[in-house]
Amino acid sequence: MSLERPDTADDGAVERTPDELEALLGDLVVDRDDHLNAPGFVIRPDTVQETLSILKEQAGYDHLSLVTAQEYENRYESIYHLKKFDDPTQEVSIVVPADKDTPVSESAEPVFRTADWHEREAYDLMGVEYDDHPDLRRILLPETWQGHPLSMDYDQERPQIASLPEHANPLQEHHKDAESDTMFLNIGPHHPATHGVLHLKTVLDGEQVVDVEPDIGYLHRCEEQMAQNGTYRHQIMPYPDRWDYISAGLLNEFAYARAAEDLADIEVPEYAQVIRTMGAEMSRIAAHMLALATFALDINGDFTATFMYAINDRERVQNLLEDLTGQRLMFNYFRLGGVVWDLPEPREEFFSKTRDFLDQLPESIEEYHNLITSNEIFQMRTIDTGVLPPEVAKNYGATGPVARGSGVDYDLRRDDPYGYYDELDWDVVTEDGCDNFSRLLVRMREVEESAKIIEQCVDLLEDWPEDERNIQANVPRTLRPDDDTEIYRAVEGAKGELGIYIRSDGTDKPARFKIRSPCFSNLQTLPEMANGEYIPDVVAALGSLDIVLGEVDR
């Protein structure tokens, strides 16, 4: 069957029981704090690097998926959610408590590069400080911000005042440095190619990029806190649509649904899972079409026909999604325990519309190949530019098409199955080019795979017996998961691994809701891809990363 993984029988893939892991870590483990998804080991705040390197090098946990920071009544806590790229079902959580008054713990950055931004975010929003961190600054909020908004003693009423010197005119008379002959250039936050409000601080030598540093946070809405203020049952579900708002909504809803259903132990009817899977793949097609469209726009420049053709195809998918969910972008279609509506009546019409779309898709894809991938100038521009070697991609926690374009065979739909994916026949797409072109190709081929999945789902739904069409499990109107239960669950979103960490405190609202945004980790790789290249390549690399600032900043 196509879903079998290729053989990777090295030591890293060997599964160890929690007790074996504890034995491996030895004295480093102070306590156990198991989560629903993984064993959790509590360690001392000054042994983070040691513990993580043992796990990375000796036990094969090479994927730092997420760093969660949170505050309890008596302590701060950083959780390192580790996985294996070879088998993401093998998880382990490293819990690092920090002192309430002076929350300091050791940085994981020397072991996992991806910890850089994750820890900066933790510092920014929660106030935990990380020793040894190369560059512990605020990341989402402005430099002048006072206090840490997610910490308990944060006063929301207090106005944020930035004093005059900090807001002095940035257009100083003279910026020239006699020593250097480089030029500093702000790309964004308002620039035609930044795909939203992203700011790249770029240092140029002529047209060549010497250094690029993404500056994010312009679209920060504190989605995590919004989720913490909503009830599990209803009020959180509308918001995932707004993280990655490029019509990947259903994929995001899947992430929340999966985490919350596992937390509250809700069984989802099979019929609803099939509908969910179908809707999610439609979302994926819509998202990838936009990625293709904007990437063509970045390369072709100006205004290109490819952009409009891809948008046309996206519109077709969105029409289907509108029929199904009632909206074109902000679906709010999933509910805990199922979906809100069955397929639209008359069902035959919906099926035939979907089939029409699927039938016409290969023709469109052929057209895109003619338009861009077979075009020599396009190849000249994209092949061997923005190179991201697989080891670097892993170190940065890159996932999704970005990782798969670097030959990292990692797809949660297959490796950590959820929904109805493991019952269906489809392939994980990888390309070995590691460049902009490969990432584009991965997306284009994934669209074909998604079409396969949708087709199988349509077949299944068509033959589903009428009296077994159960779209909703019985779920109480108010959900109150047990006190102090923790879970981290991820799904394969349009841009990569989209994870949700939830800690419950016995009420109907989460005590801590943390989002692992794939774009956040993927964007971190930009300097690796762009340094030494030309400005147009930076733009191309950024386009091929396919970031959505709504998800980066949350």
């Binding site: 257009l171 030029m183 205004f303 290109t304 100038i377 521009r381 030309y534 400005i535 147009p536």
Partner: protein, 357 residues
């Protein structure tokens, strides 16, 4: 040489209205120049707000401007009013008056080029202002003033994107002007003259007759290789896709024109369109037999319009389909590819012409 070229436009005016002396010639020249300039302005006026939108819409499966007037044509005055009514924003620290001269220089340089272009006849009227002996050299000289304007704009704008755009414009124009002119030289060798009427005249003979149709000896048919070279270099010269890198909106925002607004922006925009039409006019003069075409001489202006607009259409087609090359690739194509090929073409042509003649 074909038929003797008809009387030039100013001379025609002098004769028809009996304008006396030097003053008469000056007046006639001014009138002639005004007429030619207005034809070109009308072209650009139609192309910018209306034709370009319509063409792009056709390529992208959309409906475009069709609300005001027949076929939406009244969008042209509407856009003009709208653009001129906008506020002219002058950024802090721009280098005036360089910043103000640049947008005037661009359309002016392109307009000047038209002074030597034969635009065909309407009835007895031959729309051709002047026919100096070095006409071809002159038109290239005029056209290349445009890059000065781009550098001025880029340098004076006090904006790093503009600066990059200006630098790119210089690099690109240097790299492509030479192949452009060298390729044109191969045509000059064929024609044996730099005078534009001579170059056009050399293309009036019949190259071959296929199934009863006379194929004229246009240099595009005589030497298609040179034609393709010239077309490519021409696209780069006028800065259209795939060589629109001095503007490159997705990379350097708008390049040299980033900081311009209102009337200055209109001037730049106009200049670019006039430049496209000048490119088309040069192409048709050098390779497509000028204004000649089937039918009587007296309607040849129509053929000129068709050829120039055909070239405009081609630039828009390229814009819809061809990705932009990167700056270093562009320079590489220019210096390592086009230059070598154009010289090879020149030598080959010289040898062939030398052997035959």
């Amino acid at each position: 040489m074909g038929t003797a070229p008809a009387q030039l436009f100013p001379e025609f005016l002098v004769d028809t209205f009996g304008l006396p002396g030097v003053l008469g010639e000056v007046v006639a020249s001014l009138i002639g120049a005004a007429v030619v300039a207005n034809i070109i302005l009308a072209f650009s006026g139609v192309a910018g707000p209306w034709a370009k939108r319509k063409i792009t819409a056709a390529f992208t499966d959309r409906i475009a401007v069709d609300r005001i007037g027949p076929f939406g044509l009244l969008i042209i005055p509407a856009s003009a009013v709208q653009l001129l009514a906008k506020e002219l924003i002058i950024p802090e620290g721009v280098d005036r008056p360089t910043w103000d001269i640049a947008p005037i220089l661009l359309p002016a340089s392109a307009m000047l080029g038209f002074s030597v272009i034969p635009m065909g006849q309407i009835g007895p009227l031959n729309i051709h202002l002047a026919d100096p002996e070095v006409g071809l050299a002159l038109v290239f000289a005029f056209a290349s003033i445009a890059s000065v304007s781009l550098v001025m704009a880029g340098y004076a704008s006090n904006n790093k994107y503009s600066l990059l755009g200006g630098l790119r414009a210089v690099a690109q124009n240097l790299a492509y002007e030479i192949p452009l002119i060298v390729t044109a030289m191969s045509v000059v060798i064929f024609a044996g003259t730099l005078q534009i009427s001579g170059v056009v005249g050399a293309q009036t003979e019949t190259l071959a007759t296929v199934a009863g149709f006379d194929i004229p000896a246009w240099f595009a048919f005589v030497n298609p290789f040179a034609f393709v070279l010239f077309l490519t270099a021409n696209l780069a010269e006028i800065g259209r896709n795939p060589f629109d890198i001095p503007e490159a909106p997705t990379e350097i925002v708008g390049g040299y024109q980033t900081e311009y607004s209102s009337a200055y922006f209109v001037l730049f925009y106009l200049g670019e369109f006039v430049h496209i039409f000048l490119g088309g006019a040069i192409l048709s003069v050098v390779f497509l037999g000028g204004a000649s075409g089937p039918g009587p001489e007296s309607i040849s202006f129509i053929w000129f319009v068709v050829k120039v607009w055909g070239f405009f259409l081609f630039t828009q087609w390229a814009r819809a389909a061809i990705p932009r090359v990167r700056i270093d690739q562009l320079i590489e194509i220019g210096w390592k590819g086009m230059l070598v090929l154009s010289f090879a073409n020149l030598v080959l042509t010289a040898v062939i012409v030398g052997v035959i003649a």
